[in-house]
């Protein structure tokens, strides 16, 4: 879309048209005629027929929630998940701290240490779901696609803090072994055909 079209706010030319409404009657005889016309036009029966038709057609749209569920979009942003690497089943999180840095409601805290292989390891990772606004910035900023949003929206507990155990967020190992870890397709995820779009880093600045 060109900018001219975008800036054209004259909606009158874009397929809008005036609805043909008669002038309201001002004199008594006109009002009387309008009443008679409306009375015998049978509009009320149109309404009756519409609802009866729907009842006969019986096209029920109810989802009986606890038994049936709507599929939710892959971009849905519910309670966070921590992913594992497909290759090694190790945690993806490298402890870079970007999610902690970008979190606008300041609800992510992490602590890291150097483990015995001289690698950075995440020792503590908490998300305060009482503060989290599920904006998705952490998932977007994560360079390793490690922290993502999940689709689990049925949370019940006595305290919100119960949802944020790091072990609960982390993909379980048996799920990993079964190869059923779901990749997040929302913010920051790799889009389809990403390989074709990869370009060499220009070095000729």
């Amino acid at each position: 879309m060109k900018m001219e079209e975008f800036n054209n706010r004259n909606v009158a030319d874009n397929g809008y048209f005036m609805v043909d409404i008669e002038d309201y009657p001002t004199d008594g005889w006109g009002k009387f005629k309008r009443v008679v016309k409306r009375t015998f036009r049978g509009e009320l029966f149109v309404g009756l027929w519409v609802v009866l038709r729907e009842m006969i057609r019986f096209d029920i749209h109810t989802i009986q929630y606890p038994q049936e569920k709507m599929p939710i979009g892959p971009r849905y942003r519910a309670v966070h998940e921590m992913k594992r690497l497909w290759e090694s089943d190790a945690e993806r999180c490298i402890g870079c701290g970007l999610c902690e840095k970008i979190c606008i409601s300041d609800c992510i805290r992490m602590d890291t240490k150097i483990d015995e292989h001289s690698r950075k390891e995440v020792s503590e990772y908490t998300i305060n779901l009482g503060r989290c606004i599920f904006c998705g910035y952490c998932a977007e900023v994560c360079p390793e696609l490690a922290i993502t949003h999940g689709g689990e929206y049925e949370n019940g507990s006595e305290q919100r803090e119960h949802f944020i155990m790091y072990e609960d967020m982390l993909t379980p190992l048996d799920k990993m072994k079964a190869g059923t870890q779901m990749e997040f397709e929302g913010f920051g995820a790799i889009t389809p055909h990403e390989d074709e779009r990869v370009q060499k880093t220009p070095l000729s600045y």
Partner: protein, 329 residues
């Protein structure tokens, strides 16, 4: 007055009370289901098969709720108002023949509590007294919205009493009696003898007024739905509110009996087929109450008054006059 008659009457009263209290409950079930189907929903589904036991669940809820009398209300009037609504609704049933007479174990039963010779007048009069339920309840509630609604309800009920009375007057002139049994017998010669063919205008007017008398949807503005409150019932809870509810639904059932008996032949010649025909007609009119609720919007109070006094009442008067002239010549 012998003992057998007394016992028979008491049994009839108890049966009518029980049947129509239960019907009022089942009526709420039908209302929810039919409204739901018309709006592509399922309605109550979880309590019992297809939600059939929802009525029982609601009953338990209403009965076990705390009976709250708010501060500043006029407690005695506040307490008695729902009873007036429910009681007058059931009292009106005394003069309505629900079925043709039948013989049970060699004993002829007349399914009407009292075949008084002013039957129709009695039914309409007692239903009109039902006005005091909403009126007193709203006025005693110490709630301005309830008060508004009470005033509105009084205006609607009183206005439409006029239309009901004038619309019923023309059939009364034709039949020459106020007893609903006489109305039925007048139309017993099959479908061509129904009063609706000679009094179509009165039939339509009476039907429209029935919606106002029961406060159903095109004229449901007495409940102030747009103010997200329940009109005169705003301050009520528990079983007192339930009595308003039972009264409203019992009224709907009784008026659904009265319309076919006056205009559509009632139970006809009194055969079993006629009895089922009456029940079928009653079911249609009850269904129509729910149907309009799904389809039509409410009218404004001023439109309601305009409709009553400037349209329906003149038409009713003209109808009575024309009927009189036709009968005279």
């Amino acid at each position: 007055m012998d003992t057998a008659y007394l016992i028979e009457t008491i049994i009839k009263v108890v049966v009518i009370l029980l049947v129509f209290s239960a019907l009022a409950g089942i009526g709420t079930y039908f209302e929810r289901k039919i409204l739901a189907f018309m709006q592509r929903r399922l309605g109550p589904m979880n309590v019992g098969p297809f939600g059939l036991l929802q009525v029982g669940a609601d009953g338990i809820k209403l009965f076990t709720k705390e009976d709250i009398i708010p501060t500043n209300v006029v407690a005695r009037i506040f307490k008695i108002a729902p009873v007036i609504t429910a009681a007058t609704a059931f009292m009106a049933a005394a003069a309505i023949p629900f079925l043709p007479q039948f013989t049970l174990f060699g004993y002829t039963v007349h399914p009407i509590v009292a075949d008084i010779n002013i039957g129709l007048l009695y039914v309409l009069g007692v239903m009109a007294i039902g006005l005091f339920g909403p009126l007193l309840g709203g006025m005693a509630s110490a709630n301005k919205f309830a008060l508004l609604s009470a005033a509105r309800a009084a205006a609607v009920f009183i206005s439409y009493e006029v239309v009901t009375g004038l619309a019923a007057l023309a059939p009364i002139m034709m039949v020459g009696s106020l007893s609903l049994i006489d109305f039925n017998n007048y139309q017993a010669d099959g479908i061509t003898s129904w009063i609706v063919w000679s009094q179509p205008v009165a039939f339509i007017l009476f039907w429209i007024a029935a919606f106002a008398e029961t406060g159903r949807t095109p004229f449901h503005l007495i409940a102030n739905d747009h103010e997200i409150i329940d009109g005169f019932g705003t301050e009520y809870s528990g079983m007192r509110w339930g009595l308003f509810f039972i009264g409203e639904y019992a009224n709907m059932f009784f008026i659904s009996f009265v319309i076919p008996i006056i205009f559509l032949g009632g139970f006809g010649d009194g055969s079993v087929l006629g009895a089922f025909a009456l029940l079928g007609k009653m079911a249609f009119f009850f269904f129509f109450f729910l149907w309009t609720r799904a389809a039509w919007p409410d009218v404004r109070p001023d439109q309601l008054m305009w409709l009553c006094w400037k349209v329906l009442m003149p038409i009713a008067v003209i109808n009575v006059v024309i009927t009189g002239f036709v009968m005279m010549f």
